[in-house]
Amino acid sequence: MNQRLLLALLVGAALLWWYHDHQERTRPVPAPLAPSPPAKPKPKPEPKHPKKPWGPGPCPAERGQEAGGRPAEGGRVSPDGAVELICDLPASQRKKNIASKGLGCCVFRSIDYAARWQQVPELYDLPEQLVQAGIPGGGYPEKVDEVLARFGPAVSYLQDTSGDADILEAILKTGRLPCVTYSGHDCHYSAGIAHMVCLPYFDRQTGWACVSDNNFPGENQFVWMSPDEFLKRWKGGGGGGWVFALLAPPPPLPPHN
């Protein structure tokens, strides 16, 4: 019996060794990790208060004044050439604001821009859809809920009226296009306005914010300014710092190797 037990132990040990070795040799090799993306080049530091920020067109309301980060009309690149729009919706996709039953549709035109950027076709031409349905313009968060429940019931979105700039940056960080309240006092409006526009760029680190205005949808009619100047206009004029964003994913970045 002792001999048999010894033999069994030997055979068992041999089997264990063989099994362990077999496992080691047949263990699946993990797929190579994708190389981490190269770090984004840091934009050139630029003065927060550029001395001459004016874009291609003069800002008539501020002609002759030092800008100091105040609004300047321009294209898809900031006036100092340091940054580009994050959400670069082409001019061909940006229709002008219209009225429905005598009330402006800036809120719904801004949502139309975001829908085109993030490809939510149910909300394309939302102002025209309102006109057709006989719904007056004029927007506020609850009305947006109602309109989206009717025209895009499956669409996911967020709204925020806290005036928290972190939320703007979070939306843009993920490539989505925020729609924001805006009180004017820029190149296009010397007076105060009540308006919603899109915000294709906002970054307190680079010192730039950019507004895409549905009353001025031209190729070079973006309005660039410092983040502080934008925040004043976002929360001012009764707009209170309202932001709307769709949760659908943004378009892919251009391909490269």
Partner: protein, 255 residues
Amino acid sequence: MRAICPLIFCLLAVLPAAGGYEWRTFADEPDQLSLWHDGRQLGNWRISTREYLPLLAPGIWGDPCPPPYPPPQDVVAPGKIETDGTINFGLERSRLPAGRHLLNGKEVSKDELLQALGSAKVPDDSQWLSLTIIGPDGMRQKVISDLQSSPSLAPWKDRLKVQDYSPDHWAIKDTGFVTTGQPTIYCQAPDGRVLHRQDEYRGPEALAQVLRQVDPQYKPEKDPDLNKGLAGIPLPLLIGGAVVLYLLLGKDEKR
């Protein structure tokens, strides 16, 4: 007479008046209107900038301010001038509640709102891979449908940014994407680097295989194999085990 005509008729058109106010257009300056009251010019409205400048004295203009009488609707459209002089392009200011975070119409906390964007706690979706399908409607739909329902693709259902486009869509047409596939399928890293491209759809299994290779979070050794029972045990181990059992439990012939 011909020489003074432009001066005499520089006020080409007179817009409807009310309360003694009237807006007049200029023949040689289409961007401005002048506001008149009882035969006196009060100021000018610049259409392009929507600003009003009061005329304080001949040749002296004041700072921009709301006009005492609203400009014609067609020059501020689609805006409307409110009583405080604000031009409203479509905001109901009195109905903007302050300090609320809303997700699909329901009140949530700031954290939950940020979470919906993938910017807090949970993995940031800006670091997800992008899967872009470019091709005719039916072909794109087949891939989308498989992504939603195929068990092979289930692990990536909520970990990919999926978009699909027709070949002539602005988002992909002139930005370097190949649009001639049937369909073209791109898998891109968060920085846009192309990790994989195919110009036809080879079914959910093949796509899952690609995703396994490019997904940095994929660990093959963690794959469960639900078919494995006794059949998964190697044959030599089974035979060896049987020998051990026999040696231990088998009858001793010497006894």
